[in-house]
């Protein structure tokens, strides 16, 4: 099965080609959507086969590289295009194809009747193909191809409703901000390649070869630079401070797109990339500290904004940014396994949340449409009490919300608690650990608060739409609810493959399968840490770990109860609160004015520079020079064009004149 790894990205690509070229002719939505979903399902089957085969092998043999062809050969440098299958990429392809398949199925129902249905599925398939290329690529350049491919598809899908100006703008914003990050990524590739080649004569971009030569890299110095360059790439793609502002705007795209690209898969590419290059980060404490701080800051920052948004998808968007911050926090404190674990569980519950919100919006849209109301179907202030009308959506949504809030027994708890514990106990950042843990804990509290605020405003209380519209509220069809149910189930049980040792021991020594699975990838970094840091083996008492675990549960419950108090028990309090602190509320509601600040600091100067280059430089200097030369030629030729009379005998005359002149020269000489 491993030999057929190339099929995994190929299937969605076939779907993209067929739907892209013929979709317009096929017209039948069932065929187009079915084909798109089927192709991803085929990839999922192949991925499952590969995963099973990997599981069957001993841990140290779970790595396989399939070279397809020699891509670039130039002097000593050689890059093969091929696929790298190891526990990390196997996990990622399972997430991408599995969640991707469910979202494709969901899209068939959600996008029903939309204009350009085939276009949507072509893009979605292309996205899946690019994402698989990103995670399977055996070298940095191929990863970059996938990296750019997902960026392109993200742009295309955000701007899917391109006739809406806001959607087009959001697409552009995402594209430009990603470009800033990609620039960093490229610089990272170049610097690493150059350093390894120049200093150690290892001219390669292949992941395995780099990892095998990782011992040549120094600690700190140029490695810090390389790691920070790569991290800039990650901040762009994974929406971290300072490049996160595109993600909330990306909610202009269709909801399944938000679920697939802007929650489950693409935005986690940065986390994956740091996980893939963990041996670089482990060699630079400074870079790890930056990653941890940026992650923690993003986590709390986005969480605060999430508390004041009214658009259901925007809340989820800020939640995604915040959760990505948690993942980067994990990466920054050396807890690569925990970060990837959170990536996976987050993919389950956040995809479920987004799809659930899509189901709600779908239903609201229908109801409001029937009632001829022009209220915003995405605004939570128009919702309420939907749990009776949409029981399946409600249940799956609730389960996922509990998971993200971090209630024990659900997947989010295991991953998030692991991150917080590592943030507290890691050997890297010394005194800063407590701050990192505290920030994470507060962010987790906010997370629980705004997620339950969302649930309470949407599914509880009184329905705030008109009675007429209310009658049209109904549960979504099976094609929509089926993925919800599967993802909801995964959101519950997905965490049990990575039980913390503490809890596992309690139940008779159940091992942490997830950690064991990823062990070959991160083993080198772990050993390196042990060598470098004498105090790495500091033993924290079990009591402390239990205590912190309890603390995070308490934090989650506090968040939930605050939400319950404010939005169910006494709904007048938020109003009073905003009246009491209007400035604070306005600032939070307007996302701390970050967009405006960016506009002021970067966008407007860039625009001014562009305008200057256009009107000042291009029009006056460049065009002026070109037009000036042209008008000189024009003036000159308007004089000599009189020679060109167009009469044949005049040309004959000039021939004779030439003959006479030539003979004259000959004679005189």
């Amino acid at each position: 099965m491993l030999e057929y790894v190339g099929l995994i990205p190929l299937f969605p690509f076939i779907g993209f080609v067929i739907n892209g070229l013929l979709g317009k002719k096929i017209k039948n939505e069932k065929v187009v959507g079915g084909l798109g979903a089927l192709m991803v399902f085929c990839s999922f089957l192949v991925s499952s086969g590969i995963l099973l085969q990997l599981i069957g092998r001993p841990a140290e043999e779970r790595i396989f590289e399939k070279v397809i062809f020699t891509w670039i050969q130039s002097g000593q440098f050689k890059a093969d295009a091929g696929f790298l299958v190891d526990p990390l990429s196997a996990l990622m392809i399972m997430v991408v194809t599995g969640v991707g398949f469910l979202i494709h199925v969901y899209s068939i129902g959600y996008m029903h009747g939309e204009e350009g249905f085939y276009r949507y599925f072509a893009y979605l398939n292309l996205f899946t193909c690019s994402m698989l290329l990103l995670v399977l690529g055996n070298n940095m350049l191929l990863m970059f191809v996938g990296w750019e491919g997902v960026g392109l598809c993200s742009y295309l899908l955000i701007g899917y409703y391109f006739h809406k100006k806001s959607a087009g703008d959001a697409g552009k914003k995402a594209f430009v901000m990603n470009r800033v990050g990609d620039f960093g990524f490229l610089l990272g590739i170049f610097t690493l390649f150059w350093y390894m080649g120049q200093t150690h004569n290892v001219w390669t971009v292949n992941f395995r070869e780099i990892a095998a030569n990782a011992h040549l890299l120094p600690v700190g110095g140029v490695v810090t630079l390389i790691a920070l360059f790569f991290f800039i790439g990650a901040t762009g793609k994974s929406a971290q401070i300072p490049l996160y502002t595109w993600l909330p705007d990306a909610m202009e795209g269709p909801t399944p797109v938000s679920a697939l690209i802007h929650a489950a898969t693409m935005v986690t590419a940065g986390v994956y990339m740091i996980g893939r290059l963990n041996f670089i980060y482990i060699r630079s404490h400074e870079a790890m500290l930056v990653v941890a701080i940026v992650g923690a800051a993003t986590a709390i920052f986005a969480a605060t904004i999430g508390t004041a948004q009214n658009d259901i998808k925007r809340v989820l968007a800020y939640s995604t940014v915040s959760q990505l911050g948690f993942m980067f926090l994990a990466m920054g404190v050396g807890a690569f396994t925990a970060g990837v674990f959170h990536l996976m569980t987050h993919a389950f519950f956040k995809a479920c949340l987004f799809l659930g919100s899509g189901s709600v919006i779908h239903s609201m849209h229908h109801a409001l449409h029937h009632a001829h109301s022009h209220d915003d179907p995405q605004d939570m202030r128009n919702m309420g009490g939907l749990r009776k009308a949409m029981p399946i959506t409600y249940l799956t949504f609730l389960v996922s919300t509990i998971a993200i809030a971090g209630i024990p027994g659900f997947s989010g708890f295991f991953s998030k608690d692991e991150i917080l514990w590592q943030a507290f106990s890691n050997p890297f950042h010394g005194g800063l650990n407590i701050i990192l843990w505290g920030t994470g804990a507060v962010a987790a509290c906010f997370t629980a608060f705004y997620m339950f605020r969302l649930v309470f405003m949407t599914f509880f209380g009184e329905c705030r739409i008109t009675a007429k519209a209310k009658d049209h509220l109904h549960e979504s069809p099976l094609v929509i609810t089926f993925p919800l149910m599967v993802l909801g189930l995964l959101a519950v049980v997905g965490g049990y493959i990575g039980l913390p040792k503490l809890i596992g021991d309690m139940f008779g020594g159940i091992p942490n399968y997830f950690e064991q699975w990823l062990e070959p990838i991160f083993a080198g970094s772990h050993e390196f840490t042990l060598q470098q840091l004498a105090h790495a083996e500091v033993h924290h008492s079990h009591a402390l770990e239990w205590g912190l675990m309890g603390a995070s549960v308490v934090i989650a419950i506090v968040g939930i109860s605050v939400a319950y108090t404010l939005y169910i028990a006494s709904p007048q309090i938020p109003k009073k609160f905003t009246d009491a602190f209007p400035a604070l509320h306005r600032a939070v509601y307007n996302k701390w004015y970050i967009d405006e600040i960016y506009d002021f600091l970067f966008v407007n100067p860039c625009k001014a520079l562009g305008n200057f280059c256009w009107k000042g430089f291009d029009v006056l200097v460049v065009d002026g020079a070109v037009n000036g030369v042209a008008s000189i030629v024009r003036g000159f030729s308007s004089v000599i064009k009189n020679l060109q009379t167009g009469y044949v005998h005049n040309y004959a005359l000039s021939i004779v004149l030439g003959v006479v002149t030539i003979i004259a020269v000959y004679v005189i000489r």
């Binding site: 167009g646 009469y647 005998h649 040309y651 004779v656």
Partner: protein, 100 residues
Amino acid sequence: MLTHHSYLILSAILFSLGALGVLIRRNAIIIFMCIEMMLNSVNLAFVSLSKYLGNIDGQIFVFFIMTVAAAEAAVGLALMIAFYNNRESVEVEDLNVMKW
């Protein structure tokens, strides 16, 4: 005394006459005939020099010139007919489409 010079001078006179006709006449057919006359004056020079040099090659060239003249006559007259069909005229002052 009749020398080769006489033939060459006659050839030059005929050539100049042909050139004059080409330059001053309006009727394209007459211009065409003037060109034939110029070709013939060259033929005369060729033949007389062939005689002077005691070499047959010059006369072979006359053959080729005649072939070219025949081809030119065929194509040139066809062009003239096509032009006449379009413009109802064979005057060169109407042949002014070479501008732009």
